[in-house]
């Protein structure tokens, strides 16, 4: 996942790399997602996530489009 300063620059990068545009989130959205996704990563009890748990994280982060289907 790369950082950009505008949607135009994302489109330019996609075109140059012959890729379709994926999903674009604001930096604040990614921070909110990071807290949900990584808050327990250093815990001894973290053994990964089930499909259901991944879906729940995306739901809590407000990511509901088909792009985020698990």
């Amino acid at each position: 996942m790369l950082l950009f300063q505008s949607e135009e620059l994302i489109d330019k990068w996609c075109k140059r790399n012959n890729l379709k545009r994926g999903e674009i989130l604001t930096i604040q959205q990614v921070w909110d997602l990071s807290k949900l996704w990584y808050h327990n990563r250093l815990s001894v009890d973290f053994h990964g996530r089930s499909v259901e748990q991944v879906a729940e994280v995306f739901k809590q982060a407000g990511l509901k489009s088909k792009f985020w289907y698990v």
């Binding site: 996942m1 950082l3 620059l9 994302i10 890729l19 674009i24 807290k35 996704w37 808050h39 990563r41």
Partner: protein, 152 residues
């Protein structure tokens, strides 16, 4: 064995957090007082379970998300150390995982500008030197993230 497998995972993450880089198999073996061969098997198993990711055909840890085992354009300064993150998402994942304040300097793709972000008391602020709305591009849908994790 299962307990030690997950203890190995926890040790690797703790080592990353403490030192900013991953432990070698030898260091991990010494920590648990087990053979290098046994530690190697845990590394391979944890890689297969996507707990972290090894460089191809090696036992060198490339990624234990959000931490990167190699230098990148995403630097996270926290707790008096400088970590490298794997990507624009993981640069925010490091302070989230460490539960600490951080200053992030990262290079924007295409414009090549370096931007500064700060995490303080759980809030994100962007340096006033740029007026741009920073965006993160996720090139692949979740279902394909593990096809090629370096690209993702």
């Amino acid at each position: 064995m299962v307990d030690l497998l997950w203890q190995t995972r926890a040790f690797i993450y703790s080592h990353f957090a403490d030192t900013t880089h991953p432990p070698s198999v030898d260091v991990t073996a010494a920590h648990f007082d087990i053979s290098t061969e046994e530690a190697s098997e845990y590394y391979k198993e944890l890689h297969n379970r996507h707990a972290f990711f090894l460089e191809p055909n090696t036992l060198t840890i490339r990624m234990a998300n959000p931490f990167s085992g190699i230098p990148t354009d995403f630097k996270v300064h926290a707790n008096g150390k400088t970590y490298f993150a794997n990507c624009a998402w993981d640069m925010l994942g490091i302070p989230a995982a460490l539960h600490c304040d951080a200053v992030i300097d990262a290079v924007c793709t295409e414009s090549d500008e370096t931007i500064l972000l700060e995490i303080k008391n759980g809030e994100l602020t962007q340096s006033p030197i740029t007026n741009h709305q920073l965006l993160v591009h996720f090139p692949l849908p979740f279902a394909r993230w593990y096809d090629d994790l370096v690209f993702t």
